[in-house]
C-alpha cells in the first residue's frame, strides 16, 4: 500500500519537473537572449555561440531537459551547474543559490504548522465544549475564527509590524522583528527561534482558524452519532466521551488536513518572508520574480513541487499508521 503511494509519487515528480522546464522555455528566445538582453548585439557571434554551447543550448530540447534534470542529482561540477542554469543576478549556480535559502523557510513553515495544529485543535475542542454549554460564547468564538480565516496573512503581518514598531508596544511586549539575527551577530538557532516567532504566529493564523473550524464541525458531527448516546447512557462522563471517543475519531481527517496544509503554509510564507525580511525561499522567489531571474524561478517551482509531493506522501503514510482500517 505504502509502496504503491511511493511509486505513484514518481510520475508526479516527473510531471512537475516537466512543467517547470516547459514554463522556462515558454518564453521566446533562449536563456542567453534573456540574460544578455539588448547587449548581445554588441557581442561577437562566436562568443554567443560558445556561450550557448556552454549552457547546452545547441542540443535538442529533450536532451536539454535531461541535462537540466540531471543537474539536480549530480554532484557539483561546472557542467551540472550550467545545466541547471546560473542566477542572472550574480552568476552563481542555481542549486547553490536555492539550497542556502531552504533552512529558514522550512523552520518557519514547521513552526507555523506546529502552532496552527496545536492551537487549532485546542480552540476547536473549546468551541465544541462551548457549543454544548453556552451557545452564545460558541457563536462568538466561531465568528472570530471565521473573521481570522478571511483576513489575508500579509495584512495581519504588516499591521502587527506597525504595532511592534510603534511606541505603544514597547511597554507591552518586546519581540525582535525583521531578519533572522541581530545585525552583526553570528546566526544561531536561538536567535532564529526568537526572530521567527511572530512571523510563524501570523503565518499560522488562517490555518489555525481553519483547523479549529474543521475540528468543531467534525466533532459536532461525531457527537450526533449513536455510539455517543450509548456511551453517555452507559454512564460515562461527557469529558471522557469527548476525549476518548470523539477526538480519536476526529484525528484521522485532521492528520490528512495537516498534509494538505503544507502547500498553503509554504505559499503563505512567500509574502510573510518578504514582509519580515526572512532570508528564505519565498523571498528569493519574490526577488527572482521581479528580476525575471528565470533559472532560479524554475528551480524554485521544481523544489516547491517536490516538497509538497513528499509532504503529501508523508501524510498518506502517517494516515496508514494511525488508521488501522486503511491497512487492509
Amino acid at each position: 500500500m505504502i509502496l504503491r503511494r511511493v511509486l505513484a509519487a514518481i510520475p508526479m515528480l516527473f510531471l512537475v519537473s516537466l512543467v517547470s522546464f516547459a514554463l522556462m522555455r515558454a518564453l521566446p528566445g533562449d536563456p542567453v537572449d534573456v540574460m544578455l538582453g539588448s547587449s548581445q548585439k554588441e557581442m561577437p557571434a562566436e562568443d554567443l555561440k560558445l556561450l550557448r554551447q556552454e549552457f547546452g543550448l545547441n542540443q535538442s530540447p529533450a536532451k536539454q531537459y535531461m541535462l537540466w534534470l540531471s543537474g539536480w542529482v549530480k554532484s557539483d561540477n561546472v557542467a551540472s551547474a550550467n545545466a541547471l542554469g546560473r542566477s542572472y543576478r550574480d552568476g552563481r549556480p542555481v542549486k547553490e543559490v536555492i539550497i542556502e535559502r531552504i533552512p529558514a523557510t522550512l523552520t518557519l513553515v514547521g513552526v507555523a504548522l506546529l502552532i496552527s495544529f496545536t492551537l487549532g485543535l485546542l480552540l476547536g475542542i473549546l468551541s465544541v465544549i462551548l457549543n454544548l454549554k453556552n451557545k452564545t460564547a460558541d457563536s462568538a468564538v466561531t465568528a472570530a475564527l471565521l473573521a481570522l480565516y478571511s483576513a489575508p496573512n500579509f495584512w495581519l503581518a504588516f499591521i502587527a509590524l506597525a504595532f511592534l514598531a510603534s511606541p505603544y508596544s514597547a511597554a507591552l511586549i518586546h519581540l525582535p522583528i525583521l531578519g533572522l539575527h541581530p545585525p552583526g551577530a553570528e546566526p544561531s538557532l536561538a536567535y532564529a527561534a526568537e526572530y521567527l516567532l511572530l512571523p510563524a504566529i501570523i503565518l499560522s493564523s488562517r490555518r489555525m482558524a481553519k483547523v479549529a473550524l474543521y475540528v468543531r464541525a467534525l466533532a459536532l458531527d461525531e457527537l450526533s452519532k449513536e455510539y455517543v448516546v450509548s456511551a453517555l447512557a452507559k454512564g460515562l462522563s461527557l469529558k471522557s466521551v469527548i476525549t476518548n471517543h470523539v477526538l480519536k475519531n476526529c484525528l484521522i481527517p485532521v492528520v490528512n488536513l495537516a498534509g494538505l496544509s503544507l502547500p498553503a503554509l509554504i505559499g503563505g510564507s512567500v509574502l510573510i518572508e518578504t514582509i519580515f525580511c526572512v532570508p528564505g525561499m519565498g523571498r528569493l522567489m519574490v526577488e527572482s520574480t521581479f528580476g525575471r531571474n528565470y533559472p532560479v524561478l524554475m528551480g524554485l517551482v521544481m523544489l516547491y513541487g517536490t516538497i509538497v509531493i513528499l509532504a503529501n506522501l508523508l501524510a498518506d503514510v502517517l494516515n496508514n499508521v494511525i488508521d488501522p482500517r486503511l491497512q487492509q
Binding site: 510520475p11 508526479m12 510531471l15 512537475v16 516537466l18 512543467v19 517547470s20 514554463l23 515558454a26 518564453l27 521566446p28 528566445g29 537572449d33 534573456v34 465544549i129 457549543n131 454544548l132 454549554k133 471565521l146 478571511s150 483576513a151 489575508p152 500579509f154 495584512w155 504588516f158 499591521i159 509590524l161 506597525a162 510603534s166 459536532l220 457527537l223 450526533s224 452519532k225 449513536e226 455517543v228 448516546v229 453517555l232 461527557l238 466521551v241 502547500p263 498553503a264 509554504i266 505559499g267 503563505g268 512567500v270 509574502l271 518578504t274 522567489m285 520574480t289 521581479f290 525575471r292 528565470y294 524561478l297 524554475m298 517551482v301 516547491y304 513541487g305 509538497v308 509531493i309 503529501n312
Partner: protein, 327 residues
Amino acid sequence: MNSAKMTAIKKNPIAARKTGPKVNTKLIAGAVCLGLLMLIALSPLFSNLILPIFGLTIEPPISNLSAVNLAPSLNLPHILGTDALGHDLVKMIAYGALGSLSVGLCSALVAVTLGNIWGAAAALAGGAIDSLMMRLVDALLAVPSIILLLTLSSILSAPELVEHFPPFLLKALGVTNYTDGLLPYFIVILAITATTWLESARVARARVLAIKEEDFFLAAQALGSSFIELLSKHLLPALATTAVVEGTLLVSDAIIMESGLSFLGLGLGPSTPSWGSMLKDAQSCLTAGNWWAAVIPGLLICFTVLSVHMLGEGFFASKRARGKIPS
C-alpha cells in the same frame, strides 16, 4: 445529569429529530452583504456613466497634497480620511472595489468554465487521455498556488512575450507606446485563472464519472439520446450546481490572490486601484501612526471574503437539502 450532557444527547438524531425547513440565514446574509459590496463597486461606474446624464459629476480620486494623511473624522468631505497622497479614502475604496471585485468575478468565471470543460472532457474521454489530463492537473496542484501565480505573472508580463501578443488584443487592452493600459489587468486575471481552475477540474471529473454510472443516464443512453442531448439535458445541469458553489468560493480566493499580487507590486498597475494596491501604498506610512489607510481596505477584504464564503456555503446547504448535490 448536567445540562451539557443533555444538550449532547439532544443533538443526537435518535433523541430528537430536527424537522421542518430551516431558514437559510447564511445564504441570505451572504447575498445581502455581497449585494452591498457590489453596490460599492458599481458606484464609480454609476458616477461615470449615469450621473452625468443628469448633469451631476463625482470626481474620481485625485491626489491633493494639501490634505495628506487626514485622520477619519465626521467633517466633510473626507469622512474616512485621506491617504499619503491625499486621495479621499471613500472614493479610493469605491474604485478599489471595482478593481478587486471585477478581478475576483472574472477570474472565477473563467477558471470554473475552463475547469469544468477540462474535467468533463477527461471523464468522457476516459482511459489514457483521462489519466494524462488529470495527472497534469495533479502536477500543477502540487506547486503552491502563489508560486505558480508569481511565476506566471512574471512570464506573462515579460516584454519578450508581450511583443508576441496578437496586435488586436493589445489594441483592445489599450496598450500604446506610452501606457500599458489594461494589460496588467489582463495578465493578473490570466495568472489567477491558470492557478485556480485545477480544483474545479477535479470536482467536475468526479461528478461526470458519477453521473455516467447513474440509472437515468444509462437509460437515456439506451433510449438513443444523442451526445448533444445527453450533454445539455443531463450533464450540464448537474455540473452547473457545483460550478456555482465552486465559483463563489473561487471569487474570494481570487480577491485574496489579487491583493497579494498588488501588495507585491505585480497587480493591476498604477492606473487601476484595488484594495491590495491601497494596502501596498498604506504600508509605508503605517509606522507613522496613520492606521486608517491600511486598516480599512484590509477590513473590506475580510468582509468580502466572509460574505462570499457565507453565500457559497448557504447555497451549498440549500442545494444539498434538496438533494441536488451528493453529500
